[in-house]
């Protein structure tokens, strides 16, 4: 089978083209560094099967960073039978640097002039045929979002060429300047709404208020959509339709008390019963899902517009004090959704030191969105103040832990150096697809774990194990955190699913203070099992264990201090 590599600068739309070629949906965003792993897919044309590999972006074949080195090793050492060089047509000059280097390699090249539609709005006119004649390799205008030009790209794949353009490396930019002046014409363009947005969001005076406004609107919208879906659609559906039906069905089909307890739970209160078919369905579908959908809708839109790199610039000064640069804010923001992709995206950072500090921030700054959903539904009756207190406390605890780590771990604080992509209007079908990918991941991976978690609790409870653990291990928890002994079983289970563990607190009838202490403790004390495995795969089991010990220590300390406070 033949192998085709998708190669190009960061954020030129390689992943969008990959999706069109292979039919595999992958996450695309408008900032450099979305793809951190090689993604493989297959393209079938005229009886031939090609393996397509989406390679993380690189600006040059002389790598400046570890992430680039991985990409370059793949291109130069492993190689492929052909290279599709994805070129950002709105940045022709800079992108041709890599193109010329690729044309010196053995593998034959075809260039895709991507973002072709955008060049028109920007007053850029490129003579694609002329460029093809100069380079000697096929050049095809494409639009990765709509799929325009992909068909021609595939049709011309057999005509890729190698070593068609020779030049002296030290005269590369002079050479490219010459090419660009022959094939590209620029004309004046008018300022647009997006230019205005750029001005407001990066100006030092308006940038931070604008960021706070975005944060506030995100929070409001997530609650509005989430609570709206729950209160008006999902909760009535569950209570009026599903619940009576399932109770009836189980009672008639299975007249065994033990099984009924496991499937339906022991009380009719759905958040407290822990029945596999009641709570096990209610938590993932009626409590967590609405918030996940709402959060990822907003996050995906912010990603596609291109706001995240601007946020990175604004946050740089804060992150600098923690031994990181602002770019590290992107994994941290992703971590508000799910910690697993956030930990994976740590690959955009260079040193182990940065990765450890950033991992601590990701894991401690905020709960993941399923856990947030559970905290919201549990705490909301006690008022927004409690909710804000939890988030503020987590912010302060995580930032001070990172400050301390920055002082403790020796090493340099790197400088921010990041390409800022242009603002782009989100493309609705692409946005919908991305939302679907993320929701699917939740359904496939998280929801079964919730149901499993609920099942395990049910069985342990029915066997009396929870009671036993509460009596033996519960004492220290009572004295240090001021929580009921029985909550120990909740904490043991938190390792499996952190959102379920919060839900398990519901039957204990905790007061506001206990809920705040418990929530803060349960966010901080351990990562969930999926996150733990990802973390040890990415940074080694030793570092992962160190990070987990630090979390546990901080959680106990913070929980104890909070318990001592009177408020």
């Amino acid at each position: 089978m033949r192998r085709i590599l998708l190669v190009g600068n960061p954020n030129v739309g390689k992943s969008a083209i990959f999706s069109h070629l292979t039919g595999i949906n992958v996450i695309t965003s408008n900032y450099p560094g979305t793809t951190v792993e090689f993604t493989r897919g297959y393209l079938l044309i005229k009886g031939g099967k090609f393996e397509i590999i989406d390679i993380p972006g690189t600006y040059t074949l002389e790598p400046c960073s570890k992430a680039e080195k991985v990409a370059v090793d793949m291109i130069s050492n492993e190689g492929g039978d052909a290279i599709i060089n994805v070129v950002d047509a709105t940045n022709l000059e800079r992108n041709l640097g890599l193109t010329l280097q690729l044309l010196k390699q053995n593998a034959p090249v075809i260039a895709a002039l991507n973002f072709w539609d955008e060049t028109k709005h920007l007053g850029i006119r490129i003579d694609a045929k002329g460029l093809e004649n100069i380079l000697g390799a096929p050049v095809v205008p494409t639009c990765g979002l709509t799929g325009e030009g992909i068909k021609e790209l595939v049709e011309r794949l057999p005509f890729t060429k190698s070593k068609t353009y020779d030049y002296k490396e030290e005269e590369k930019w002079l050479e490219i300047g010459g090419i660009v002046s022959r094939v590209q014409k620029l004309s004046h363009r008018h300022h647009t709404f997006l230019d205005k947005l750029e001005e407001i969001s990066t100006h030092p005076l308006t940038g931070i208020p604008f960021a706070l406004l975005i944060l506030f609107l995100t929070f409001k919208t997530v609650r509005f959509i989430g609570e709206g879906l729950i209160n008006y659609i999902l909760d009535p559906l569950f209570n009026k339709l599903y619940y009576p039906l399932i109770v009836n069905a189980v009672n008639t089909i299975l007249p065994v008390k033990f099984l009924q307890d496991i499937l339906l739970g022991t009380t009719p209160k759905v958040m407290e019963s822990f029945g596999l078919l009641t709570t096990g369905i209610y938590i993932p579908l009626a409590v967590v899902l609405p918030y996940i959908a709402a959060f990822y809708l907003i996050l995906s839109a912010l990603e596609d517009i291109g706001y995240l790199p601007r946020a990175a610039v604004l946050l740089d000064f804060l992150f600098h004090k923690m031994g990181l640069h602002g770019y590290a804010s992107i994994p941290v923001i992703l971590g508000f959704g799910c910690k697993v992709p956030a930990i994976l995206s740590l690959r955009i950072l260079e040193s182990d030191r940065e990765k450890i500090i950033a991992a601590v921030l990701i894991l401690m700054m905020a709960p993941c969105i399923p856990q947030t959903a559970m905290i919201m539904s549990l705490i909301a009756p006690h008022g927004t103040g409690c909710l804000l207190a939890i988030f503020l406390l987590l912010f302060l605890i995580s930032v001070s832990t990172s400050f301390a780590l920055n002082k403790l771990i020796k090493g340099e604080t790197p400088e921010l150096f990041l390409e800022i992509p242009p603002y782009r209007m989100p493309h609705v079908p692409t946005l919908a697809k991305k939302l679907w990918i993320r929701l699917k991941a939740y359904f496939m991976e998280a929801a079964p774990m919730i149901i499993l978690g609920v099942f395990i609790v049910g069985v342990l409870d029915a066997l009396g194990v929870t009671d036993f653990m509460a009596r033996s291990l519960g004492r220290p928890v009572v004295s240090i955190l001021g929580l009921p002994e029985e909550t120990i079983s909740v904490m043991l289970l938190g390792f499996l699913r952190k959102d379920v563990s919060i839900a398990l607190l519901a039957p204990f009838d905790l007061n506001a203070k206990q809920l705040v202490v418990a929530s803060v403790f349960m966010v901080l004390y351990l990562p969930c099992i999926a996150t733990f495995f990802t973390l040890s795969k990415e940074s080694g089991i030793k570092n992962a264990l160190k990070i987990v010990s630090l979390m546990l220590f901080t959680a106990v300390l913070a929980g104890a201090l909070l318990n001592l406070l009177h408020y």
């Binding site: 004046h188 030092p204 610039v313 000064f317 602002g326 400088e415 921010l416 150096f417 390409e419």
Partner: protein, 92 residues
């Protein structure tokens, strides 16, 4: 860096950090190691190129500059190593 101080004396060459927002400067020198020069080069910032400062942040935050059609955020320390000659008459 004897070169830099010499250039600075004739009062036209300033580090990027001192360039006003909205002004354009021609890169005279990048006073850093090969690593920094390579990184900047990859994004189109090299000696002889004109760059426009789009914004800078308070508290020694990063600057955003535009080189060609590429916008790049550069940390304060790194920006201080880029010496530019202010371009006074900018044609649109």
């Amino acid at each position: 860096m004897p070169n830099v101080s010499k250039i600075r004396k004739n009062n036209m060459a300033i580090p990027l950090t001192d360039l006003d927002r909205g002004k354009t400067g021609k890169v005279l020198e990048i006073s850093g190691g090969r690593g920094i020069r390579q990184k900047l080069d990859a994004l189109g910032i090299r000696t002889g190129v004109k760059i426009k400062k789009i914004s800078s942040q308070i508290l020694r935050g990063p600057a955003i500059v535009q080189a060609g059609n590429t916008k790049v955020a550069i940390g304060y320390g790194m920006a201080g190593k880029i010496i530019v000659d202010v371009v006074h008459h900018e044609h649109k």
